[in-house]
Symmetry: C2
Subunit: 156 residues, 2 copies
């Protein structure tokens, strides 16, 4: 139950692109070096994001990749689903399958709630947000969860 590196790399790549001027074309090789991501792997990831319409890729001399939309209009959820396909926190939340067990379904309801929460967080976070957050460090991350706000004490 971990978010894959592909998604992490994809997001980093887009942040990197957004940091440049808008509409600027950048070599994959360049992003790869800047973010220390294996070039061939990054290529695969950008292919998928390209198919999903998040970036445009230009072949041939002087080619590279460029954002297909404004950074404010690309959400982390889109990045995630471009790379991983539809989010399914659990088997029976997959688009095709239906759950036949009864107890399983009680569980599925909870899993779906959790998944909807994740989607909500990812869906409201854009590349522009990530870029901004990166620019202003020393807050909004690492242990403490203060950023969340409405957490109940979590039993335990």
């Amino acid at each position: 139950m971990q978010i894959t590196r592909a998604v992490e790399y994809g997001a980093m790549g887009l942040i990197c692109l957004a940091r440049r001027g808008p509409g600027e074309t950048v070599l994959l090789e360049e992003i790869s070096q800047e973010e220390s991501i294996p070039a061939s792997f990054l290529g695969k990831i950008f292919q998928q994001m390209s198919r999903a319409g998040l970036v445009r890729s230009i072949r041939g001399t002087g080619g590279g990749v460029t954002l297909a939309k404004a950074p404010e209009q690309i959400t982390l959820l889109e990045i995630f689903e471009a790379i991983e396909g539809p989010m399914a926190l659990q088997r029976c939340l997959a688009p095709t399958v239906t759950c036949e067990r009864q107890e399983g379904c009680a569980l599925c309801g909870v899993f779906e709630q959790a998944q909807d929460q994740v989607k909500e967080v990812f869906g409201r976070t854009t590349v522009a947000d990530l870029l901004k957050r990166h620019a202003a460090p020393g807050q909004g991350h690492r242990r403490g969860g203060a950023a969340v706000g409405k957490l109940s004490p979590v039993v335990e």
Copy 2:
């Protein structure tokens, strides 16, 4: 990025236990058959839940397993962490590691928010809730997300 079967089976096992009278001792074999979970795998899972103090297991003739607490006092988060260890939606949210990249950290902040949301949902859901939900079917699960309540339209 999926919840494992072990967690699913573990929760199902506890629901199954909770359905019996309180304090009743049940054979693993029986749960295994009732829920169609491989017996040896279920054994492993109950071992972990036993170590975490969620169930008590009694060896020898007439033995079996029994809930160590009231169903209202066992949360899905406890079940999850008993089986999987501390929740880490992403590498750099693991208890030991710290994240060194800047962009990575902007990401980690979001991942942590998402993780906190999942923990909140799991932390407030008890075995008793699951049992109740199972008893009253036809609501609270499968597509539509009406059960969640405060979801913003999720962009796109």
